[in-house]
Subunit: 294 residues, 4 copies
């Protein structure tokens, strides 16, 4: 099989490598000529056999929409675009709609695995028509981890289902990371009898209820930098967590841990907290409690 | 009526003033001779007529227990101790038990009102026997605000009920302050069309659902220091909030807003967050996301 | 002054009454002929003097947009539409844009006070141009509570600021109600020494830090139905709370108490909780813990 | 090695089985004669060689303390008691103190793994003196999972450290389960494009960031009962979660996800919510909003 791949950043580049390792032919396009195989989307379309399969792996939002629009101009009826970026699922209907008038098919895929996917394979969740997904199965089989297909790939539903599943995956991931972080802070609190914190996490890797890959990464991180002395408690978020809470609000689903994990990140990025200034000011007003001057 | 008052700090001193304004005779004792009327608890006992009423207004914990023990040594059968500090309600059974063998009665009182109580009166919640509370009613009537007695005083229940009610009062207060603080931060967020933040809070003082004394204090604070430029977002807690959550855990009562308000204070006091270091470290491990070096 | 008022439901009808009491002339329109003064928007426009002021007070969303569109067809250059419903602030730019091509001015107003506003007056927050707001001031002065104007009315900012302020007001209100509710549940828990729960809330009305109108309403509700035996713990939400959390997400503002108050409402409406089924199922899997069969 | 084991309930019985499979000699005592090897603690002491090692595996609280007291009466200087139950870490100092006057040593161990431990081995966290732990190592090696010792066992610290580590482990576990549960509810919400919910969770088992044993159990549970139609959303808690939050309060550690997971369980057990009755009552008071009659 010979496919096109648009976007050769860290993720796209890793995926091209894995696909080639697995025996697929891949022509990649990226605005950066140093990593690109061709000079334009038009050249990409010319380089791969029809009916074409083109995987899009660029940042979500305007970049992804621009690429889909560009592909609408160079692909032909019967071709298939697979959008594998971290797009909001609400974008998929729009993107499919940009391609449908030309008879170009569309599948959305949520991809998990980060920098480890190159070696371990990626968890994949796909949305779209069964026939399109069937056609792209050699690509999915090459990208997903070894083992039973259903343990690393799912056809989750119609258009948007892949990105929706990935959004929920990331919402869960946020909350799980926060759970680990709270436990870490407790094990480092002053009045606690645990002396070997790294060893404790390490000992949870086999036999316990909480054994998991994130735990293994936490152990790895602690072994590299016990006490996390070299890093700051400052955490970005890349959108999926917020979208998850917004969908929860749309669907009247209570998500206390997912929302808490996002709010903790918001606070981590503030130099000073307007909220807590207000609380300090109130306490001073009614109780004469001291405030910290700046 | 002539009563004794132990503890002449900010609160105790204000209360002595209010009681005297209302026509009660008050002999106060404090280790600080500059504010004390007598030189010892024994002198205090000698100065006031039996059966005595002695109000204790010292910091909770060891100081309060010490004073109760001291009073057990100098008071007589039929005397009454009123413990009005910010004690945990679980202390009251112990304190009553220190006095009961000598026939000394005990009433616990939760007091709200802060530095404004001197002028406006204090909200009072009492726990103990009806006869003891009846005996102390002239004191309660002098301390509570003008208006119907039942709008500023309650005999809430048996021993401990006064401090329990005060504990819950403060738990609610913490959560309400946090609610105001979140609203304040939203009105100061970048992408919002409200330009007159102080004016908006000011306009909520009449007619709205949220009109309240804390709102009036927030307006006063904003008028003194718009933007809270002079204070840091650093907030202490004095125990009642934690106790409230502990009682919620004991009683299987969900308290998401009260707990959130306490956790926000904990975070406000951290120079850096161990939790968020752990999350940052995890993100770096799986996604190669940048961390902020220290 | 003679103004038009579209929408004569509970809120609109009360407002017409208050405006007339205060000496304004009001022509009201509602699809329901029993309460309407005129038969159509066109008749409304014909009945009031130019330059006209028309207050819109209909449900948010499609109904409000329809009325604004209708008014765009019957009003003239220089007229002023005041949108006082519970609209999301993001609607205001759209509504202003429907009127601007015809030279019709637009002001958005957030209104608080509920069924009590008829008698006590309404808290008002306005967004728009200063000249338009000045023109409508007699209306605002009639609707707002007695007392200083700035304690019941604010020109919060440009278009949308009135509804944004009201949205934040309601988000705060949600969290404050939840705080009261948590305290109520604690005072009713089994292992607590407070026997007179209604009396305790009653006693907080004067002198305490938490004194407020919502507390007075809670006391009133408890006096009508102590124990709330006649009502179910089922709580709707009308949108503003969700919007507040969405704006918090847009602005990276942590809102743990506001979100908790909304999630509590979501849970209150569920017959059974899918989340908690999943937790029960997990516990059974790893620990053999019993589950409750349905 | 030949050890004693007190408590042959589900956990103790499984552990006896695993220890025997691994070649250790085990004499078990339980009040239930059908499972017990001896008739009393005294017979147990007589049956095993000195210096003795006795593992205690009974319910926490009074049962555990009673057994420790009983062992203080039948064991001798130099013997070792290992307390492996789900005790609060604050109990360990007390239990060690009951044995120390007789020269009996004490080690506390937190045990994770549930019903699967019999086959997979148990994750173990121990607190106490290094020499005592070294002496018991054959027992730990038999109980822990195959693989490197440090991935299933840790000497976490001094007395109490084992149970403290287990308490934090369970707090994290609570929050992680809640995270999964929120994701499950989102994937089952009405307005979402995912049709194959079980398949989606199944596909996360390889390659994704969230792959873990709890996920595998969730998949297993969903395959047994898709939709969880047979179980109720009612979840008990066994104490460790509450203790974790209490320790967080003692140490000023913010634990928003752990506390949220416990509060969700509290709510799941309520027939009706007092909190939400109060909110419904408030909304009726100020807005005339309908309440649901009971």
């Amino acid at each position: 099989m010979h496919i096109g791949l648009v976007g050769l950043g860290r993720m796209g580049n890793n995926m091209r490598g894995r696909l080639r390792d697995k025996g697929l032919e891949v022509t990649g396009y990226d605005p950066n000529p140093e990593v690109s195989d061709v000079a334009s989307l038009a050249e990409l379309a010319a380089a791969i056999p029809a009916p074409r399969v083109v995987w899009v792996m660029v940042p979500s939002g305007v970049p992804t929409t621009s690429v889909v629009e560009g592909l609408a101009g160079v692909l032909e009826e019967g071709d298939l675009v697979i959008e594998g970026g971290n797009s909001r699922f609400t974008e998929d209907t729009k993107h499919a709609g940009l391609l449908a008038p030309k008879g170009i098919h569309y599948v959305d895929v949520g991809v998990s695995g980060g920098v480890w996917g190159r070696e371990n394979g990626y968890g994949l969740m796909a949305g779209g028509d069964a026939a399109d997904i069937e056609r792209a199965m050699p690509v999915f089989d090459a990208l997903r981890p070894e083992g039973p297909r259903e343990e690393g790939f799912v056809h989750a539903g119609s258009t948007g289902a892949g990105h929706y599943a990935k959004m929920v995956h990331n919402g869960i991931e946020y909350a799980i990371m926060q759970a680990w972080a709270e436990g870490y802070e407790l094990l480092n609190s002053e009045k606690n009898p645990v002396q070997d914190v790294t060893g404790t996490f390490k000992a949870w890797q086999r036999g316990t209820v909480v054994r998991s890959w994130l735990l293994e990464l936490l152990v790895r991180a602690l072994e590299e930098d016990p006490g996390f002395d070299d890093i700051e408690g400052y955490v970005e978020d890349s959108g999926e967590g917020r979208w998850t809470v917004e969908e929860a609000l749309n669907n009247a689903v209570p998500v206390p841990t997912i929302s808490a994990s996002i709010f903790a990140r918001f606070v981590s990025r503030q130099e000073d907290s307007p909220s807590m200034k207000a609380v300090a000011a109130l306490r001073k007003q009614f109780g004469g409690h001291a405030v910290r001057p700046r």
